[in-house]
């Protein structure tokens, strides 16, 4: 089934607070939300705790509110994820720009041998280190656009910005990363 149709069907069911639909939404969005949170907070264990919290908060939100105002289910999850991270830092009372835990991540198992996995980790580590040096706004937009592959309009909806603004920020973020990678 087309993923756009699948998401729309899940969204309609969740408007009616369907539990089974929420479990399917969990399976569908979990990896993306985890990755987003991981790159925002930089620590694997923190990312795990916060991601769990995101899904519980989303369910609680769905139960107690109407979600009709949200354009897509994906937008709802990302907005709650962003708010959860903001709350986390507020409680922690530290700067948002923490360094990313560069070696502490898992890679999707595609049957690679150990040596290949190590090589992949080294490749990823270089990019991740540099992403960690970017300011939060740039880091966030690069993850949404290039890692989780959201469209510009979806990103605009999540960040509550104009699409033109988002395009400019993406361009600037890429340039900033490119400069760091030199």
């Amino acid at each position: 089934m087309n993923s756009g149709i699948k998401e729309k069907i899940l969204f309609r069911k969740l408007e009616k607070k369907d539990k089974d639909a929420f479990v399917k939404a969990y399976d569908y969005y979990f990896d993306d939300i985890y990755r987003f949170v991981y790159f925002k907070v930089g620590k694997k264990e923190t990312a795990e705790d916060l991601t769990s919290s995101v899904f519980l908060k989303t369910w609680d939100f769905i139960l107690n509110n109407s979600i009709s105002d949200y354009k897509t289910l994906r937008a709802l999850f990302y907005k709650i994820a962003r708010n959860t991270i903001i709350d986390y830092y507020r409680k922690k009372s530290t700067q948002m720009e923490e360094s990313i835990d560069t070696y502490n991540f898992d890679i999707k198992d595609e049957g690679q041998d150990l040596e290949t996995k190590i090589d992949l980790k080294m490749d990823y580590t270089q990019v991740i280190e540099k992403i960690g040096e970017l300011k939060d706004e740039y880091r966030e937009i690069l993850i949404l656009r290039f890692v989780n592959e959201l469209s510009v309009s979806e990103i605009a909806d999540i960040l509550e910005k104009e699409t033109g603004n988002v395009r400019v920020t993406i361009h600037r973020a890429l340039n900033a990363l490119k400069d760091l990678m030199k």
Partner: protein
């Protein structure tokens, strides 16, 4: 810049740990199912959305010139678009086969309740079995393409049966939980062991044709009848049995029958035939004890 984009894109392979994800899922399920009952999704909200999505997909397919002719013919025949007689007997490769599959998906999307969904899925599995028969009958040379089509259909059967089983297992599980809760609530010093059994059937109460050897009245069957009965346990017969069991709310029996379907269809396809009712009529040699 292109290289940088692809490097960023590769980061998609970073994923949460499997253990963490599955434990978290269990925790979430506990939280969700402990919250207040969600209102079941009702018919009215879904129809327009589903229809819009599926008609839009089908419209793209039907816009091909050859399909337009077919579509006009169907309309003239007045068969309607979904569940039409015109598409009912179609198989992979036929022009209206897509309409048939879309119709099935729409029916499933508009059906609520695990039992009802399971019934539909059993019907769809039966449709796939019929399609396998048709494909094999039309393609006696059994080339690579035919094999692939049959393989895909077999996988569809297993997928539908698997989904039906999952749904029925949920019903079974809820019924068992309800039984346990009721058992605890009704257990008093004067009323020990009285249990209001909601919808749980004892496995030993299963009775269907293959179990004649366990008949308690002392009648045993001949080896010939056992061989014939075994032959009759083909996938189509099993699916019919499953549907009958489910109609009478016998979830445990239905699950038990569905367990056999995968093996039955594999055997049938391997032997090159997928038949419905056995051509031999069982002649029972009954020996009364």
């Amino acid at each position: 810049m292109k290289n940088l984009n692809s490097q960023l894109n590769n980061l998609k392979k970073i994923k949460p740990g499997i253990d963490y994800k599955s434990k978290n899922r269990e925790l979430l399920l506990t939280q969700i199912y402990n919250t207040a009952e969600a209102k079941p999704a009702d018919f009215s909200f879904g129809f327009t959305t589903y229809l819009q999505q599926y008609v839009s997909e089908f419209a793209d397919f039907i816009a091909q010139p050859a399909m337009v002719v077919g579509f006009v013919l169907v309309s003239l025949l007045g068969g309607g678009l979904f569940g039409a007689t015109a598409s009912k007997g179609t198989k992979p490769g036929d022009s209206l086969y897509v309409a048939k599959r879309i119709s099935e998906k729409t029916q499933l999307a508009l059906t609520f309740g695990e039992k009802e969904k399971a019934q539909l899925r059993i019907d769809f599995a039966g449709n796939r079995v019929e399609e396998i028969e048709q494909v094999l009958a039309d393609n006696k040379e059994n080339n690579a393409e035919t094999k692939k089509t049959v393989n895909d259909l077999v996988n569809n059967v297993k997928s539908e049966v698997g989904a039906a089983k999952n749904g029925l297992q949920k019903i079974n599980k809820n019924a068992k939980i309800e039984t346990k809760v009721t058992e605890k609530a009704t257990k008093t010093p004067n009323n020990l062991g009285e249990v209001k059994n909601v919808a749980v059937k004892n496995d030993e109460d299963e009775v269907f044709s293959a179990n004649l050897g366990k008949d308690k009245s002392g009648i045993s069957t001949s080896e010939k009848e056992e061989a014939v009965i075994k032959k009759e346990e083909d996938s189509k017969t099993l699916l019919t049995q499953a549907k009958e069991s489910l109609k009478s709310d016998d979830v445990a029996s239905t699950l038990s029958v569905l367990e056999k379907v995968d093996e039955a269809i594999d055997k049938a396809v391997d032997s090159g035939e997928v038949k419905g009712v056995s051509e031999e009529v069982a002649t029972t040699t009954v020996e009364k004890k």
